[in-house]
Symmetry: C2
Subunit: 385 residues, 2 copies
């Protein structure tokens, strides 16, 4: 096991009818900006629940955060925060709204130049952020219990991320009944997203960390069991709750303590979103099988362990077992109606060239061993044609 530090002070408030508890968490003297997305919270009643709970508190609104939230939109929110002297941000929505809120929180107090540096300039460290609270409506990204944020700059077709303890929410309210109103597509994307989050922290190389391995496997198995139940019956509270908690646990840092992490699937997936606007979870379903195939030697021991413990694959030689593990993973994603190849998303072969060129120009190498260069990325994507 590697040495590690772990601190996660986010207060989770989980369960039925918990949204009204927001009033106990937001300071009563705060001037709050409620940030939300395209308006689904108005259809589902979450908007009204939050407004009712917070009546008496000074509450402004900023709606219109996109899926894969745009830097440009976030900067409009920053303007509003500054103009109105907002001192507390309340994210009401899914991971995109929360990621945007985190960036707004950091960008507002960023003093050292262009806030775009937070996302792109190596060595930039966030040193302050406005306090954030969250009401989560969509289990997927795990953003509700970490300091990560991913932002897209539309004009550059770039998707970039940053991480800071300062943007961890002070609280996150998770009401599984929010799942009841989600469309199939968002449930499926969320299951895939959480599943791949776990694999990014698990499917690397063995480091004699059996507890972290088993905890990761616990989340994978639960997602495999509960995801289809949620899709089959959106009013199954237990299934919704188990799915929601699994997505949070998948990326709150507890399974990655002391172990290597990959994240190459995410880095390549972000490019597919940047160029084609493909839903984040779906980009992961495309890239992951190619990643497993290309890195079958590097990841041999863990892919075999994954195949055996998650899918019961115990027959055959090393390559046959790896092939079977990849096939099982693809089947799982497809069973959720999430396609896993590029042509199914109308992505042309030229996109592979464009993405490869980006990594070539950056001289960026990715993966847990930092050994996947542009040629590797090209191979992974060609695998998915």
């Amino acid at each position: 096991m590697y040495n590690f530090e772990y601190k996660n002070p986010v207060k989770i408030i989980f369960g039925k009818a918990s949204i009204a508890k927001v009033v106990n968490e937001v300071p009563s003297n705060a001037k709050v900006l409620m940030i939300y997305g395209g308006g689904s919270i108005k259809r589902t009643g979450v908007y009204e629940q939050v407004k009712t709970a917070l009546r008496g508190i000074e509450l402004l609104e900023f709606g219109g955060i996109e899926a894969n939230p745009h830097y440009e939109t976030c900067m409009q929110a920053v303007e509003m925060v500054k103009a109105e002297n907002i001192d507390y941000l309340l994210s009401v929505g899914g991971g995109s709204v929360l990621d945007a809120t985190k960036f707004v929180a950091a960008a507002t107090l960023y003093k050292n130049g262009d806030p775009w540096d937070i996302l792109t300039k190596p060595g930039t460290v966030v040193q302050a952020a406005l306090p954030i609270g969250a009401v989560l409506t969509l289990p997927a990204t795990g953003s509700e219990m970490n300091g990560n944020s991913v932002i897209t700059r539309a004009e550059y077709m770039q998707k970039q991320s940053f991480n800071s303890p300062y943007v961890m929410p002070q609280f996150s309210i998770l009401d599984p009944e929010c799942v009841f109103t989600l469309p199939d597509r968002q449930v499926a994307n969320g299951v895939v997203d959480a599943f791949v989050h776990v694999l990014e922290q698990y499917l690397t190389f063995p480091l004699n960390s059996p507890l972290q391995d088993r905890m990761a496997e616990s989340i994978l198995i639960t997602l495999i069991e509960e995801g289809p139940k949620v899709l089959a019956n959106r009013n199954d509270y237990d299934a919704a709750a188990n799915f929601m908690w699994s997505a949070t646990m998948a990326l709150n840092g507890i399974i990655s303590v002391g172990v290597p992490q990959d994240w190459a699937t995410h880095e390549i997936g972000h490019e597919l979103t940047a160029f084609h606007g493909i839903d984040h979870g779906r980009t992961l379903a495309i890239v992951l099988p190619g990643m497993m195939n290309l890195k079958r030697e590097n990841k041999k021991e863990k892919i075999i362990q994954y195949g055996e413990r998650i899918w019961g694959i115990t027959d055959g030689g090393v390559d046959a077992r790896i092939d079977a593990a990849i096939a099982k993973t693809v089947s799982f994603f497809e069973s959720l109606s999430v396609p896993t190849t590029l042509p199914e998303y109308d992505v042309p072969a030229e996109t592979i060239e464009k993405i490869t060129l980006r990594f070539k120009e950056n001289q960026m190498k990715i993966g847990e061993k930092g050994d996947i260069d542009f040629a590797g990325i090209e191979a992974i994507l060609k695998d998915r044609l």
Copy 2:
């Protein structure tokens, strides 16, 4: 799943050579009281490591905390804290030293009367405590990542506990190399203690919480695998690290979110320590099999799941499988050289009467369903004769 709230802001600093990092965590202008136990930290060098790291910081010492720390000793520390205007407490030792430190932190700032009330008077709420840091030398109690404390009042032969977020350590340093110098008995006690902590949060009734179940099982399996490795080779760093992290994860609250909890084994075990001074972990090894036997109907589904997933018991009817699960548990404890019956600790039958009488007088009922009264407690203890 029940509704729940979860917040655990303890910073964990884990790994080789991490004790020196204490200097980054203790405020440099603090007046620190270092609290420790019987002096083993001087033999192992931990004392010197801490002193060296903190040279330049005003550091006083209070040694002599007992295993099952005494209220009387803690109150001497409180006197010293007040007399010397200490403003930071540093626990250097195992769970007993840390539990004592927590009580000292709360008792020092307790304004509403006798600090003994914190441990015994229903409705008493701790509203402030001195800040605490911890260097943990012994994996077992999980106290390094929670707000729990158990204190013994020798004159009354009473062992009592309290819980408060105010006494969660600000940081806990966990260096697995501390395990290298532990005697067999403390390793074995620690494995049993952590194992039973998990079962107190797991062996209740099913509530459709598959992730919590599997996470609990992950810790149990890891303890079963790693505990004997630590006993066999005290210098096996990986085994020490896996054991140490398992003990922390067993009681940092993450496996108990949204599920019922028992703790009857602990409540009865505390009485055996109070009357006979038996090591805490050993009292759990005595009581647990009796608990499983008595509550075989209440706990049926979970005992069977435990038997199947942890010990591979899949044959036979319900009672046969429960018997086999109990037998496997007893064998595991005995394999660590931890006896599991009262006569092996020279506890006479009269002690059962005394303990039963206490619960009868208190009219206290325990267990996850609150249905174990004095007669149940008598039956559990007689089972262990």
